[in-house]
Assembly symmetry: C2
Homo-oligomer: 392 residues x 2
Amino acid sequence: MSTQTHAPLIATSQSMHFAAPLALQSGASLRDYTLAYETYGTLNADKSNAVLVCHALNASHHVAGVYANQAHSEGWWDNMMGPGKPVDTERFFVIGVNNLGSCFGSTGPMHTHPDTGQVYGADFPVVTVEDWVNAQALLLDALGIHQLAAVMGGSLGGMQALSWTLQHPERVRHAVVVASAPNLTAENIAFNEVARRAIVTDPDFHGGHFYQHGVVPKRGLRIARMVGHITYLSDDVMNEKFGRELRNAVADSATGYRYSTQDVEFQIESYLRYQGDKFSEYFDANTYLLITRALDYFDPARSYGGDLSAAFARTAAKFLLVSFTTDWRFSPARSREMVRALLDNQRDVSYAEIDAPHGHDAFLLDDARYMNVVRSYFERIAQETMHAGGAA
Amino acid sequence: MSTQTHAPLIATSQSMHFAAPLALQSGASLRDYTLAYETYGTLNADKSNAVLVCHALNASHHVAGVYANQAHSEGWWDNMMGPGKPVDTERFFVIGVNNLGSCFGSTGPMHTHPDTGQVYGADFPVVTVEDWVNAQALLLDALGIHQLAAVMGGSLGGMQALSWTLQHPERVRHAVVVASAPNLTAENIAFNEVARRAIVTDPDFHGGHFYQHGVVPKRGLRIARMVGHITYLSDDVMNEKFGRELRNAVADSATGYRYSTQDVEFQIESYLRYQGDKFSEYFDANTYLLITRALDYFDPARSYGGDLSAAFARTAAKFLLVSFTTDWRFSPARSREMVRALLDNQRDVSYAEIDAPHGHDAFLLDDARYMNVVRSYFERIAQETMHAGGAA
């Protein structure tokens, strides 16, 4: 661990407009679009120290640092990226990009469709992991970066990192794929479908054109978030944090129960309702549909008859994969599938299975072994980058 | 396995009215009520061969057999109970009782509140596992049965079987507790809460008085059932049955996808939607709230500071517990907790952990080892019953 003290990293949200249409995997296209992004650190002279960080479901391009004069504005992976942190912004030029279809700055369902002058809403085209990677590549082109020292992401972000190594093998030296999977299982898709049905069948959804009606399908968003949240946590950590604790036990009852089907009884209910309420205040319903669908669709082995080893023959990068023992959403078994398929292709792969109690959420949390694994790996990348002639 | 052929068991739904009020655990009471039940086989002269079968969430008193002239009307545990089956109705007198608060015949939210002349709806009092057991005991009194040869149930039914051994230890010789738990974990409660919120926030719920409005909160019921259904299955069996198969692959697309956030793409989505739709056609929303709450509340160790061994000191029965390896809703670890607590009290316990791929649903399915374990255990009960002087 670094013992130096560092000035806080101040983040600035930027955006870039792209006037040329983007052809999407579905056959549709976006006529023009904007990508919101942030960068931290300094791009070196030969532009060899760039690290692209891809975000998961409800995150954004605000990966690290804080916004000036804005309390509690830490980026979602601020424990991982910054001066002296495992991905050290004093050595690497880190880039976060908000994905198309999101609701945090890049063009998405809340923006105006240039052909109709109406808000896109449900008419925003379906976007895939591959589309996001293509858009990210165009941003890198505009920033003059041909090759990434590394692409890194957790969960859905890990899928993007993986897809980079398949779509643009020559542009990626290292891929860091954390708590991810080569595709969703039927159970994963099932949970996504529950969330989508909750949103779509909310009367306030109005077929995805709720903006015109001045309402938001909050009931559906709440349910979607509650379901999602359960799958991010492990059974163990839920028992440890909440167990069967009551919110307000009734003093003169032998059990403490108030005997109600609708009031909150257990702490876990209170927690979940709070998470659902909070989410429904800021997240766009159409974005939720798009992002869960991008998760469902990702499956690079699909056009190889399910043969992941064949799909991975295109890769040229070196890999670090990390999984967490209690993650039942993207279990270690899924990471091991990817490790095996890479080894089948004689790729350089490091793999760490971290014994952590926190379930899928562990990829966002501090864990000494996890942090050290990433730190060491980026030390190695920094060494290679310097030896290759770049001043990392 | 029996090689005899047996005439099909014809079931007849019966009901019994109770005019005396039933005091409930919550402090409320039911002024009068009806219990729907069925019996199979013949009660012997000394009434020593009775087996009470308790039902789980969406089942009923129709445990075994078929209704005369009604196709596909097999009881929910017809593979387990009947002539020559593991619980052999040629030896045992099997009783199924519909629980209070249900929507299949016993007094519940769809019935009329005797004090107001209005449909109960959300005013139906909260009922607990303990209340159900007390009502079942009153039915047995009316049938002249003092002691059960066995009480048996799976999942929530197993909780009732367990509760029988605590509330009426002298009335139970054997308890068969399948795929159950001594209480719900935080994760179990969390999934129940998602289901309840989906129902309660459906605008058609009308605070639980939707009957007057001529509507049913089907959106909420569908979501509730979809969530529930996922937790009944294992990840493995979902992958085996559905995997990532598409419903109607597009022929001229490289991936087969139709690229839609709202249409069905994957078979698992189609299956879940079908399950949700079917459930919403027949299940009562208030019943769903009541039954999930009964699950949440059950916790016999609660008044013993969480000490299950202390709670089980009251038991006098012999036990068979069964769990299934892939059941993540009521995992084998939960059954082992109960086994240990019973052994702490020197109780006679048999335990079988069945290696089955089907998750929680396995308790309803045919599995040779599972069926044989139950069959052998009931052979033993039959032997004991005969030696005790009864003509089993």
